[in-house]
């Protein structure tokens, strides 16, 4: 083989490996497809029988939403809660905003702008229903945010009971260094020790800072 041949082989191998890496990082669905999503070849006979019959002689009518749905405001219906492990206590717990106001753990960020504080103190599942089997929604990254380095902006501190003294305390790492009480573990890799001694709220701003969580 000539040198050029070696270069071509190496290049193809690198490309293949690259592509494999890319697809390896994409999250795999964590549930089996339901019946209506499987192809006819995959469906069981019983499932096939249960499918609606399509008369091929009739011109297919394009799907249109039922006309009453388009009259609702786009903020009308609170998003549903996905059926995943970390939502399993969603009924009992009321600290959803701990992750969902700050985006920690790739949680979808919700803002509840303009909502009365008393509603924010209520159990989240009073308004947000959990759909059995529903997969987590992948948040669409905003175009302008994609320009910034992914380490650029420190995560926000949630406005939860466990963080209500975030201003005066400087012992955040007591929980966040080892994940005590389910706290997200932070490493602050490459950060000089002096910065770790500063008040955490100097860099990490708190959602609705200073506003009481529960009234």
């Amino acid at each position: 083989m000539t040198r050029l041949d070696w270069m071509i082989v190496l290049g193809i191998a690198a490309a293949l490996l690259f592509v494999t890496c890319q697809s390896a990082t994409a999250p795999a669905p964590d549930r089996a497809p339901v019946a209506s999503e499987r192809t006819p070849q995959e469906q069981t006979p019983a499932e096939e029988e249960a499918q609606p019959v399509v008369d091929e002689a009739v011109e297919p009518v394009p799907d249109e939403p039922p006309h009453f749905e388009v009259e609702f405001a786009d903020f009308a219906f609170p998003p549903t809660i996905s059926d995943v492990d970390y939502h399993k206590d969603a009924w009992i717990k009321d600290d959803c905003l701990r992750c969902h106001e700050t985006g920690v753990g790739e949680a979808t960020v919700v803002k509840h702008e303009g909502m009365k504080p008393i509603l924010l103190a209520a159990k989240c599942r009073s308004c947000h229903v959990l759909i059995p089997g529903q997969a987590p929604i992948e948040p669409a990254p905003s175009e302008e945010d994609s320009f910034f380095a992914d380490f650029a902006f420190p995560p926000m501190i949630p406005a939860s009971d466990s963080h209500k003294d975030a201003w005066t305390n400087d012992n955040c790492l007591l929980c966040h260094e080892d994940g005590v009480r389910g706290a997200p573990i932070v490493r602050h890799k490459e950060m000089p020790a002096l910065l770790l001694e500063a008040k955490c709220r100097s860099c990490h701003v708190q959602v609705r800072s200073g506003a009481p969580v529960n009234q």
Binding site: A14, K111, A149, P192, A198, R201, S202, V205, Q215
Partner: protein
């Protein structure tokens, strides 16, 4: 993005390595061969002047971090700085010049915009004289920009109507330093934090307003059990949780507290007799003129301020005052203060009284012992105070009133002798009042937001924007739409921090270079370019002598070199700060008269301050380590016997509550920058008023209720937070929000200190009611 063959091959190489040796989730990082390039710079926000490194990729700012190599801030920054990339790239940056047409704005070209501005200024000058125009600048413009504007207006046009927003924040500190030591600016530095045993924090919510300074103070306290903190503040700000003594005087009645502390120091003989004998004099103002008194006279004066006598009037317990005084005297003590002392009608006096305590105890010029006024803006010191861009001063410690100072600057600037007027121009409040009376016919507002930041702002907003016959022409230079650009006749889009290069000078006399890292968006230009362009067009119109500025400067480098010349042989002497040095080093503290001088840690100290070694202040008779106040009359700093004057508008029956305004960590000034970072906005999304639980009970208020706050001047409606941070009888409102109901400056008073001309934002009388 254009990808070259080389880029492609590099990407393939990196991908191969990642595939073989990489950890998880690395694929995203290698879609482009571009790396982040880090540029050393200085933060855009407060006067701490934190060293930062700006991450740039492909001509965009992508991240920011504290600079770990910075000698004083050592990599510490606060959250505001971290979000600067988002702020700079905000989608609503001003991109084109806009001219007002009725109720709307239309885009025009730069040439037309500059011709319009030059025509308006020239017409006003020709018809009504140089004092019919004015300049209102900023402690956020670069030093070269302020210096150039000052040069144009004072030495070119011939008017002293040159002001800047440091008049609203630092003028009293200037007055305090000048009246006590003969020259402005702190004599200590941040190095003193590492040596102090006592920190006296007065009228300063250091934790939220200068977070990096507070982090260093806390670190010192946590590492040394014998380090103590005394706080003097009517409000229980976050720093009070770490205070060993908290003095909470009735707002506006703290001067008696400082005299009382002096009383304890004198009575218990905790003063430094030798230091006083050698370096201090005592003065009182009698019949409008200062008169000397001796130590005995001072002692007698202090009798009225014995701690137990001032308990009632100040609201501070005698034993607390005694404890604070004893701790202060023990030292070494570093005092830090900001707006709580400065934004008062007795601001200069309040500053004097803090200097008194340091002078009495000899706590000055020694490691850890210094009176240090913290600056609010990133370049109020270097850019406005030092360059003399205020109505009564000239560059580097000179005054318009002094004939020799005017002559020096006229010579350096190439101005005709007699151009600089001997009388100070209009101070900020009087300037905007004159604008309202149409006596000022053209004004240039540069990188500041007076339509939000002036006290009692309503009449001044009318002055700037109300349509009327003979309305003055107002041109505003800014990077974002603000409550001031909406009033302007001409809006000029400005390049922001990181889009132009120049110098910022922060609290500890450190001048730091900031590089240009990216291009300005749209047609935005730097303030320097705009002022230079205006100067040249005014020369063409014959209202500025031809050749006064045109042809002399091309870049800020040229201006910087002239500034160094202007500082030569003054107490500021920074001839040694060449551009090359500033680019390489992480700031240098003046004085630094030669290129090999490392900069000055402590002024007035022999062996540290080079002014004592060479130049007009040189003195070989001073021993190493000794202090000499070489700029003070008779080389003695002055302990002033000031009256304990109350505020301009104390509470009364109709307006029984004291309003004080201030700041929160997540926002800065008028919020034009911080409100454009989503996280900072979400952290503090709306304005609020802190109400003490006792007052809340009396007025039937709960957290979340809307409260109308009314003064003799205007009203605001904001949400209540019932907390015990303000003392009873006092409310606190942060001033960052620009929407009409939250614009708390409509309520504040514009009475000002007769010495410093700084308004009293910190105390006015209001009434409150649930809406």
């Amino acid at each position: 993005m254009e990808t070259t063959r080389r880029d492609f091959i590099k990407a393939a190489a990196m991908t191969a390595v990642v595939s073989v040796a990489g950890g998880p989730a690395m694929a995203k990082a290698f879609q482009s061969a571009d790396k982040i390039t880090w540029h050393k710079s200085v933060c855009r926000f407060c006067g701490t002047g934190c060293g930062v490194i700006i991450g740039e990729r492909g001509g965009r700012l992508v991240a920011l971090r504290g600079d770990p190599e910075h000698p004083t801030t050592k990599g510490l920054v606060c959250a505001k700085a971290l979000f600067l990339p988002k702020i700079v790239h905000s989608k609503d940056r001003l991109l084109h010049p806009m001219v007002r047409k009725g109720d709307t704005y239309e885009r025009i070209g730069w040439d037309d915009a500059m011709n319009l501005m030059a025509d308006k200024f020239a017409a006003a000058i020709k018809a009504h004289g140089p004092n019919s125009v004015a300049y209102y600048g900023s402690g956020q413009a670069m030093s070269e920009e302020s210096y150039l504007a000052n040069r144009l207006f004072k030495g070119g046009i011939g008017t002293n109507n040159v002001e800047g927003n440091p008049r609203l924040c630092m003028a009293s500190a200037v007055g305090g330093y000048v009246s006590t030591y003969g020259k402005d600016e702190p004599m200590g530095s941040y190095d003193d934090i590492e040596h102090a045993k006592v920190f006296f924090l007065i009228g300063s919510n250091t934790a939220e307003c200068h977070p990096v300074i507070f982090s260093q103070i806390l670190a010192r306290k946590q590492a040394n059990r014998d380090v103590l903190i005394i706080v003097c503040d009517p409000r229980k700000s976050p720093i009070c949780s770490k205070a060993d003594v908290h003095l909470d005087p009735i707002p506006g009645y703290d001067l008696a507290v400082f005299h009382a502390m002096a009383h304890v120091i004198v009575k218990e003989k905790r003063y430094d007799e030798k230091f006083i004998e050698k370096n201090v004099q005592f003065k009182i103002v009698k019949d409008g003129a200062p008169a000397k008194v001796d130590f005995k006279g001072y002692e007698a004066f202090l009798e009225q301020f014995a701690p137990e006598k001032v308990e009632m009037s100040t609201g501070v317990k005698a034993e607390q005052i005694v404890e604070a005084a004893r701790l202060f005297a023990h030292g070494p003590t570093t005092s830090f203060w900001t707006m709580g002392l400065n934004q008062r009608i007795t601001g200069v006096w309040a500053n004097n009284l803090i200097h008194n305590l340091h002078l009495l105890t000899g706590q000055i010029g020694k490691p850890g012992a210094t009176p240090f006024s913290l600056t609010g803006q990133p370049n109020a010191c270097g850019g406005v105070r030092d360059t003399g861009t205020l109505c009564h001063i000239l560059p580097y410690g000179r005054a318009v009133k002094k004939a020799e100072h005017r002559a020096e600057m006229e010579k350096l600037w190439g101005a005709k002798p007699g151009t600089i007027q001997p009388k100070p121009g209009l101070n900020t409040i009087e300037m905007f009042r004159a604008l309202g009376r149409d006596e000022v016919q053209a004004m240039l507002v540069l990188t500041t937001n007076p339509g939000h930041s002036l006290p009692n702002v309503t009449p001044y907003r009318k002055a700037m924007g109300e349509t009327r016959a003979n309305k003055p022409f107002v041109a505003v230079i800014d990077a974002y739409p603000t409550r001031t650009t909406e009033l302007a006749d001409l809006v000029l889009p400005a390049a922001m921090w990181s889009e132009k290069y120049g110098v910022f000078g922060m609290s500890e006399r450190r001048y730091q270079y900031q590089p240009k890292v990216k291009d300005a968006p749209g047609e935005a230009r730097s303030d320097f370019d705009i002022v230079l362009d205006l100067a040249e067009r005014l020369e063409e119109r014959g209202v500025v002598p031809e050749g006064y500025i045109k042809g002399k400067f091309t870049t800020t480098d040229d201006v910087w070199n002239e500034m160094r010349e202007a500082s030569k042989n003054t107490a500021y002497d920074f001839m040694g700060m060449t551009r090359a040095r500033l680019k390489k080093e992480r700031g240098i503290r003046w004085p630094a008269p030669t290129e090999d001088h490392p900069g000055t840690c402590r002024r007035f100290v022999k062996g540290d301050d080079p002014c004592l070694d060479s130049g007009p202040y040189a003195d070989d008779t001073v021993a190493e380590g000794d202090i000499k106040f070489y700029a003070a009359p008779d080389f003695r700093a002055t302990v002033w016997l000031r009256p304990a004057k109350p505020p301009a508008e104390p509470p009364c029956k109709d307006y029984p509550i004291v309003l004080s305004t201030g700041r929160v960590l997540e926002h800065w000034h008028t919020g034009t920058m911080t409100m454009r970072a989503e996280e900072l906005r979400r952290a503090q999304p709306e304005c609020y008023v802190e109400v003490n639980p006792e007052d809340a009970k009396a007025y039937g208020l709960r957290t979340g209720d809307r409260v109308r706050i009314t003064s003799r001047r205007g009203e605001s409606v904001v949400k209540a937070r019932v907390v015990d941070t303000p003392r009873p009888g006092m409310i606190f409102v942060p001033w960052h929000w620009e929407d009409d109901p939250s614009l708390i400056n409509r309520v504040c008073i514009d009475a000002y200190d007769p010495g410093s001309k700084q308004p009293e934002f910190k105390v006015c009388a209001v009434k409150i009611a649930k809406v």
